[in-house]
Amino acid sequence: MPWADPHTWLVGEVPTADLLNEQIRDNLLWLREDYYHAEFTASVGVTATSEASPTTVVTLGTQTFDGAPVTVEFFCIWAQPGTGGLVLSLWDGGTNLGIFGEIATTGGGPVHLAHRLIPTAASHEYRVRGWNRSGTTGVVFAGPGGSGQYMPGGIRAVGG
């Protein structure tokens, strides 16, 4: 269920079951959980060298949004650039929303990115895509978790 704008209650109003379910049950469940999330459990070699045709790292899939603000977050245990910067961009379908983060530190490190936006009330497919400022391949590391394995990387959309 999508987020329902909190209702202003009136004196004398009789709260219906439908209204209580929407306002309390469904909104609390919505707050308890991620809006949408997706993981990737294998490392992604970022071979692209062009911002216009980047390597897709992870997609949230096509999801329906209701026009309320959300924060899109991305996490990976380790992103390692090649000899130049490894750039991660946030895309909405075929639209490049901008550079989400850039890692140019030798050896790289864990990455947590966040961007707050207000999607239109429609379907959107948020994706994190990477490209290299030089010709050397960068890597976004992830795994299935467990002994000796990397934890998954992921993308999620949460309210607010």
Partner: protein, 163 residues
């Protein structure tokens, strides 16, 4: 409206519109959205090398706290760079009082930074800001942010949340 301590309901109590608006509507809004949010859409050079007078990166709108409910203050920047030989310290402020360092960049690092502090502020109004300085040479560390779009960085933001 900010977060209000959840009410303990008693048998026979008449639930008023006022109760529902504070306990349900306003608390849902507080949980849903940030209590305060600010963003910057252009690079911020860190020109200060003085920890006593750091460069302000972002200041969030005031938030009113109840003294018993923790909050989370988050700062994100898509690109922070420290030139060789420099270090950069980013500190969280509550008004004019330092609340503590939330990020530290050593020489030759270029990476996104997401930092978070969980706080239990005293009851009253609080204005949070993040400020930075670089040592030993100023202006060689930049907090890079933009308005988004091809070739442009997304914003850096400072956010106060109730959860």
């Amino acid at each position: 409206m900010g977060w209000v301590a959840p009410r303990t309901w008693v048998d026979g109590e008449v639930i008023t519109a006022g109760h529902l608006n504070v306990q349900v509507r306003d608390n849902l809004r507080a949980l849903y959205g940030p209590l305060a949010y600010a963003e910057v859409t252009e690079p911020v050079p860190v020109t200060s090398s003085n920890g006593g007078a750091p460069t302000t990166i972002l200041t969030a709108p005031p938030v009113t706290c109840d003294g018993v409910t923790p909050i989370a203050v988050e700062w994100f920047a898509p690109h922070v760079s420290a030139a060789s030989g420099n270090v950069c310290m980013v500190r969280l402020y509550d008004g004019q009082a330092p609340a503590g360092a939330i990020a530290y960049m050593t020489a030759a690092q270029i990476r996104p930074v997401w930092a978070c502090a969980r706080l239990l502020p005293a009851a009253g109004e609080h204005v949070y800001s993040v400020r930075a300085w670089v040592y030993p040479a100023p202006a060689l560390v930049a907090i890079t942010a933009g308005a988004g779009g091809p070739g442009e960085f997304l914003p850096s933001f400072l956010r106060v949340r109730a959860r």
